[in-house]
Symmetry: C2
Subunit: 88 residues, 2 copies
């Protein structure tokens, strides 16, 4: 099974990387951008039947710094083709 | 409107960060982990009605290195509460 873990900075925590992206987008002439926040996407291939509790435990112990970051876990038994990124 | 952009390394591209996470998870006693890949999640707050084409243009020009990375764009007019990360 596959799990997708989204780790994002909590609201109010300064996101320097997001600000840099925002500034660069403006520099490239993309207007209408109000805010940019950067987070992490961690894709984990796990043994079938791994409970979500265990994945959340991984997040708390290693993947996210819960003082400044939130996380969200999404699981799917098989990679959904609709969720595949754009192939270039 | 909000756009969520997922940037992931293409299959076959060495993911050193993912390997480090995999190793650390095993070190913490989490078994059953077959593979870990790390990508980026970029949340952009845009002017309403920004076309997806423009967001994909941002990805090609700045957010993703399309030689080694794929990207996927998801848009929503309002942040869906179901998509909010776990509040801790």
């Amino acid at each position: 099974m596959k799990a997708r873990i989204f780790v994002t900075l909590k609201p109010g925590v300064l996101d320097a990387q997001g600000k840099a992206i925002h500034h660069a987008l403006e520099g490239l002439g993309f207007d209408g951008v109000n805010d940019v926040r950067q987070g992490k996407l961690i894709e984990v291939d796990l043994a079938d039947g791994t409970p979500t509790d265990k994945i959340e435990d991984m997040c708390r112990k290693l993947l996210a710094n819960t003082v400044i970051e939130n996380f969200k876990v999404e699981t799917s038994s098989e990679a959904d083709p609709a969720n595949r990124p754009t192939q270039l």
